[in-house]
Amino acid sequence: MIEWIISILLLLGGSFVLVGSIGLVKMPDFFMRLHGPTKATTLGMALLLTASMIFFSSTQAGFSAKEILISLFLLLTAPISGYMMIKAAIHHKLDSIERTKGIDNIEDDV
């Protein structure tokens, strides 16, 4: 039973990580590429780490919870690194695809 839960979590996590990387390759401009890694990959990692937590709790003596630390860390830092990257991209005036709406909402740097 536990093996089934671990397998499902692992497969789901792996597919989310893969979806994040597919988004990284497939999307036409930088701002759209950013969505894959910041969201899908983070959730995928959280699922993988949960699977690992259940695995080590069931196979080894005692309860193993330190994977929560990595999940927490990734959940906290993913938006911040995403924010830094989009800031750098706006500063470098990267092109966004033509049908992007509201492009004049971006204000000029100081």
Binding site: G14, V17, L18, I22, L24, R33, T41, A51, E67, M85
Partner: protein
């Protein structure tokens, strides 16, 4: 069954690492490359955790935590450099 699943997930992560490398090489801009590198860090953590699971040891956990921290700090540092031309002003 678990061994097979772990192998499949290994393949998935490996494939996503390859996709990241493609984006890292193609670019076209510097932020794109940083993004690819950042995603590679996170995927490497996944690889290490999976390897630990297939070996049945929790020893690799600290390595994963270290990579997570170094990856975050280096991403922020490179972005800061791109933004201001300096890391610590």
């Amino acid at each position: 069954m678990l061994e097979t699943v772990i192998l499949i997930v290994f393949a998935m992560i490996g494939l996503s690492l390859l996709l990241n490398v493609w984006r890292l090489l193609v670019g076209p801009s510097v932020p794109d490359r940083i993004l690819a590198l950042d995603t590679m860090y996170i995927n490497t953590i996944a690889l290490i955790i999976l390897y630990g699971m297939s070996m049945g040891t929790a020893l690799y956990f600290e390595a994963a935590l270290l990579i997570a921290m170094l990856g975050f700090v280096s991403t922020v540092a490179v972005c800061k450099y791109l933004l201001r031309g300096d890391i610590i002003e």
